[in-house]
Symmetry: C2
Subunit: 210 residues, 2 copies
C-alpha cells in the first residue's frame, strides 16, 4: 500500500505535469484523478481542492529555489560574481530537476486565492532582492559595473532564467550546467566581442554551442 | 453611434485589461460585457466567442511587434549591435504602448485552440529567429562575441524583454527609452566592471538609475 506522503507526492507530480501541459484553469480534479487512475472521491481523501494542490506545488517550488540559492548568496567569503554564477547554476538546476513543479510555480501561481497569492508575491520579491543584493555587493566591491541598475538588472536576469522553464528539454543539446555557464557569461560579459581578447578560430572550438 | 470598428477596439481593449488582471480562463464574456456596460447578447453581435476576442488581441499584438521590429532587423546598412539596440527599444515600446494587449499576448496565447496556438507559435519562432539572425550577423561581422550561443542568447534576451510586460508601470521611475537603454547595455556589455574604463564618481551621476 502506498503511504499518504508518497501518494501526495504522486498527486502533486501528476497535477503539475497537467498544469504545465494545459494550464491550471483548464485542468479539473477529475482530470488529475483520471491521470492517476483513481476515483475523484479518493483524490479528495488526500487534497481539499484543486487550489490546495496548486498551493502545495507552488510552496514546494519556492522552498526548493530558496534552499538552493540562499546559502550561496549568503556566503560572503566568495566574490559577488562567483556567487552570482553559482546562484544562476543553482536556479537552473532547480528548474531542470523538476520541470513540472517549477513551471507550475512560475506560470500558475496567479490562480491562487488572493491571500496565498500575496504570500507567494512576497517570497518572489525576497528572492529577487537576493539577486539584487549580490549585484549591489559586486558594485560596492568594485567587481561589477557601477552604472548598472541593480533592480532592473536583477529582474531582467530572473526573467531570462525563468524562461528556461519554457524551453528546456532533458533531451536537448545543452545540459543544465552548460546552460548555466552560458547565462553566466552572457550576464557578466554581454554579447559584444571584446577588443584585446583572442578567440579560438571556429575549427578550434569557437562554434556556437549547438 | 459608435462604429463597428471602434466598438470592436473597445471590446478588445476592455477584454485585454481583464485578461491581464485576472487571466483569460477566469474572465467570462459576461465580465467583458459588464465592464463595457452592455448586455452579453449585444457583445455577441460583435464577437463570436471569448476565444475569438483573444485571437484578435493576440494577432494584433503579433502584428505590432512585427511591424516595429522587422524593418530595423532588415536594414543592413546599420551594424548588428546598432540594430539590436533599436530592436530592443522597439520591442519595449510596443509593450509600453499597449500593456494590456502585449500582456494578453504573452501570457494568454496558450489558451487559444490548438490550430491558432500553432499559428502563434510559428510567428513567435519567426520573431525569435530575427533576433538570433542579428546576433549571427554580428558574429560574422566581428562585432559580437563568437563564443556566444546565438539561439540561447536570443531566447534569454526575449524572455528578459517580455518580462518588462509584467513589471512596467507608466507611472514608474524609468521611461520606456531608459529601460531600453539599460537592456541594451546589459545585453551588449554585461554586468562586470570593465578594467580600463573610467566611471564617474557616484556624485557625478554614477548612481544606479532609480
Amino acid at each position: 500500500m502506498v503511504s499518504d506522503v508518497s501518494r501526495r507526492q504522486q498527486i502533486e507530480s501528476t497535477a503539475s505535469a497537467l498544469f504545465r501541459e494545459r494550464g491550471y484553469a483548464a485542468t479539473s480534479v477529475r482530470d488529475i484523478a483520471r491521470a492517476l487512475d483513481i476515483q475523484g472521491a479518493s483524490l479528495y481523501a488526500h487534497v481539499a481542492s484543486k487550489e490546495d494542490v496548486l498551493w502545495s506545488i507552488v510552496s514546494r517550488a519556492a522552498d526548493r529555489f530558496d534552499a538552493a540559492v540562499t546559502p550561496i548568496a549568503r556566503d560572503r567569503t566568495l566574490p559577488a560574481s562567483v556567487r552570482l554564477a553559482r546562484m544562476i547554476t543553482a536556479h537552473i538546476g532547480v528548474i531542470a530537476d523538476d520541470l513540472g513543479n517549477a513551471s507550475s510555480f512560475l506560470q500558475e501561481w496567479r490562480f491562487l486565492s488572493a491571500d496565498r497569492r500575496a504570500q507567494v508575491a512576497a517570497r518572489r520579491d525576497g528572492y529577487e532582492a537576493m539577486f539584487r543584493g549580490i549585484l549591489e555587493e559586486g558594485i560596492a566591491a568594485g567587481e561589477l559595473d557601477p552604472l548598472m541598475d541593480a533592480r532592473l538588472d536583477a529582474r531582467a536576469l530572473l526573467s531570462a532564467l525563468n524562461g528556461v522553464a519554457g524551453w528546456y528539454r532533458p533531451t536537448g543539446a545543452l545540459t543544465p550546467a552548460q546552460i548555466a555557464d552560458r547565462f553566466t557569461s552572457l550576464s557578466l560579459d554581454g554579447l559584444r566581442r571584446r577588443p584585446g581578447l583572442s578567440y579560438p578560430a571556429p575549427d578550434e572550438g569557437g562554434r556556437t554551442l549547438r
